[in-house]
Amino acid sequence: MRLSISRISKAYSGHTIFEDCSWVVDREGVYVVMGPNGSGKSTLLRICALLEKPDCGEVAYFSGNKRLTEAISLKRRMTLVFPQVGIFNATVFDNIAYGLKIRGAGKQEIEEKTSAMLGLARLTEKRNQCALSLSSGEKQRLGIARALVIEPEVLFLDEPTASIDEMNARLIEEIILDKKKSGMRIIMSTHDQMQAERLADQILLIKNRKLEEIKG
């Protein structure tokens, strides 16, 4: 699945966040968007994940040469994890299994895939614990596991390691690298230049309302 954004602009209350930005993601790998606070990193991710529309320009997904329509089936092929994960008042297992349940997955499939994700996020021991009782780092790992369980073709991560400790940040980086190896397209934002260097195949910077490639 290829993502193409073409000449998009976005403004809030008359204040332009970015304008005339274009970008294509056509290979698997990790794409990192950087920029100062308020530069529009999160907005760009939300627009790419079809959760928000640009004021002008176009966001399109293609499979080969065929353009995919913005139906729920397309949205289900990608997911975005916010810094505020949005934990459900349920067990860790039920939180991770949510995406499978709403897709009508069978019991066995839910059990197998969710257990695998619990292992990947190192949350197996907390399987039956109320997810709200997890630490910030564990919640972030849960958010990523919950996103990965649905096997998205494109995974968006909005500052996945902001405000968590180094150990959890390392665990999350390991998960990102693991998924990169398995051929996933991961588009993430971060403030951490070193992290971007460690993970990224391509780094983009939002500067002066434009999108610039600084590594690729």
């Binding site: 994940a49 959760l51 729920i72 949205k75 289900r76 997911t79 975005l80 994890v81 916010f82 505020q84 994960v85 949005g86 934990i87 459900f88 008042n89 349920a90 949510y98 995406g99 709403i102 897709r103 109320c130 709200l132 009782s133 958010g143 919950r146 996103a147 649905i150």
Partner: protein
């Protein structure tokens, strides 16, 4: 003072010996209020969801109206249902006046705004990140609504329990539409009023004790629900 002690002892004796009349009155009370609550919850929770998620004009007015109806005086509801069900009223042909069904209708009208209004408050208080999380995971609009309602479950249960407390303790409306007919429409609150008038304090006291116990149980359940919802949220 001595007569109070004697009446109290006799009341306890009636409870301990599971007096048949006492039991039938308690069961009818639970049946009427339970049925009213069931209907109010079945209608009130979806109504709350509609007002929370629906986008229609006059939504704000509907919410305000429900909030206002929470304080409906029971006697006014009783009068309204009486006029509806009386022989010359629009629903007189149903011949429901002075039956448990009429009492259920009156109590449903009292419980519905409480359930709907408190459920609505619980649903709109859910952190928007929950809907956002469900949406990013590919949930359809109805699945997003269900995820939010599930998050609001403790608040919704609190609303249902609060409505149950209100209808169980209510006397005005069911006295008007039920008629307090012995063995047919006589419930705990109406019996307490009647037996006190007659000077039959031990029977009234026995029912009073049971009613208090039910109220305490409801409050206890409410506290457990609130604590459970609250502590899980705070973790």
């Amino acid at each position: 003072m001595n007569s109070v002690v004697v009446s109290f002892n006799q009341a306890l004796s009636l409870i301990l010996h599971l007096d048949r009349e006492l039991l039938s009155i308690i069961l009818l009370s639970l049946r009427v209020s339970g049925s009213a609550l069931f209907i109010a919850a079945a209608v009130g929770v979806p109504l709350a969801a509609l007002m929370a998620f629906g986008r229609f004009s006059l939504r704000g007015l509907c919410v305000s109206l429900l909030d206002t109806l929470m304080g409906l005086p029971p006697v006014v509801v009783g009068l309204f249902v009486y006029l509806l069900l009386s022989r010359s009223g629009p629903l007189g042909f149903l011949a429901l006046l002075y039956t448990p069904s009429a009492m259920i209708i009156a109590q449903t009208i009292l419980a519905l705004p409480i359930v709907a209004s408190l459920s609505h408050s619980a649903i709109v208080s859910v952190d928007p990140v929950i809907a956002q999380a469900a949406s990013t995971l590919g949930a359809t609009p109805s699945q997003i609504s269900m995820a939010v309602i599930r998050e609001a479950r403790y608040g919704i249960m609190s609303g249902i329990m609060a409505a149950f407390g209100r209808v169980m303790a209510e006397v005005g409306a069911i006295l008007i539409v039920g008629g307090n007919i012995a063995g047919f429409t006589r419930v705990m609150t109406t019996t307490i009023a009647l037996e006190t008038d007659k000077g039959n304090f031990e029977f009234a006291l026995a029912l009073g004790i049971i009613l208090l116990a039910i109220s305490m149980a409801i409050n206890l359940a409410l506290n457990v629900i609130r604590r459970k919802g609250g502590t899980e949220r705070q973790r």
